[in-house]
Assembly symmetry: C2
Homo-oligomer: 276 residues x 2
Amino acid sequence: MKYRRSGRLVDMTNYFLSHPHQQIPLTYFSEAYKSAKSSISEDLAIIKEVFEVRNVGTLETAAGASGGVTFIPRVDIYATGNLIDQLCERLEDPERLLPGGYIYMMDVIGDPLLTQDLGRIFASRFRSAKVDAVMTMATKGIPLAYAVAAHLNVPVSIVRHEHRITEGSIVSINYVSGSKKRIQTMSLARRSLKPNSNVLIIDDFMKAGGTIRGMMDLVQEFQSNVAGVGVLTESIHEEEKLVNEYVSLTKLTEMNVKSREIKVERGNLFDDVYQI
Amino acid sequence: MKYRRSGRLVDMTNYFLSHPHQQIPLTYFSEAYKSAKSSISEDLAIIKEVFEVRNVGTLETAAGASGGVTFIPRVDIYATGNLIDQLCERLEDPERLLPGGYIYMMDVIGDPLLTQDLGRIFASRFRSAKVDAVMTMATKGIPLAYAVAAHLNVPVSIVRHEHRITEGSIVSINYVSGSKKRIQTMSLARRSLKPNSNVLIIDDFMKAGGTIRGMMDLVQEFQSNVAGVGVLTESIHEEEKLVNEYVSLTKLTEMNVKSREIKVERGNLFDDVYQI
């Protein structure tokens, strides 16, 4: 089919957005649209400019025979700051207070478009980490993990507390839940993570960090490497956390069940704005 | 910021794709781009045409003061047929056979971009069902449910087998697992589904339909209505299923553990192609 520039721009924009972190040869577009490579290059320049101005991401071009163009989802610091500030305010609603030092977050986690925006933040932060897979713990980490993985174009491995019959052979490890100091088990299907993967661990909530620590150990069991750790909310914890390096979007800094006060601040993502 | 047509087309395409099922007034665009409404209308015609030709969806325009334009994600029958045929072939790999009449599907469910494509099929099929929320069962239904919900722009309610302390008051019901004929419990946080919602139930696998039947009953407990039921794979089941109306993408029709043969066919979605 022959496309004019206007049609090409719409179609290419859609194509890039649905194929992030995937190098596409220029010939793919020039053949699909029966257009000269020079025209395609001009199209790409227009798309790249709009993507950058609107903080959608960028297009990276690699020259040569094996070259092509890759859409890298990015976020910008100002829009991200605003989004997280709004989220902090929402989370400070005292109605969210639950027994045991937890806060209700299912409405946040249950919002697919917000989750996609939050996922793009982590995908931007870890865009250069050569991530091969995202790992998360069932249940509440799953939505955010999928959003991150979709923007990075990598598969998700879901770790579970229970052993499930429907996944074949599994690898289980024991770990100590940091807050409750209780020994628990987590399992991952043997075939759901390839050896030698570079794994980004994503979860919704981190208190002492015991669950994340467990997932880091599980990554080792698969002869793989931890590329990074990202959590939606880290919570106050009196003792030393079990995880040293992690990126948090929000930080629960105060929680008073009696006076019904919650204080939520920006997470450590903002400590180094050049990495966002 | 003043945009030329080429820039507007890229930006509007991105905007529509990230705001499905949301009516956007023409003034939103004309103000954002400082462009005449007549120019915006021409842009919309171009986007609509490409979206329809490329089976991304369509733009619906409502006239009048409260009018605007809405992006409705759609799929087309041929592309969907091809996608599902490929999936069936993948699922027929005998390596997937697991004890108890299950097949390993985590690689399919674990692929975020494939999941988004599958989610768009259900979003297309139920585009006119006035869905307010998507409901699913933890764990394996979650990725597909989020993909469907993102394309419909509605929240997700996650039903669980266990009672979790971190979600406040919950509503629990007992249900009979159809295959195992065992009484089990499922729970949903009280505040995770608004009363009078029109609920689309999405799950990864259905055998006798006991879990889906349970979710249908749970919807009633929230004074809500079942808008539809969608499953990725329905399995052979000798007795009558506990759910009459559902849409399946694939159908597991044969499974011989001894000869290691699996047969997977297109699901009942394709029985009525005019609804896709």
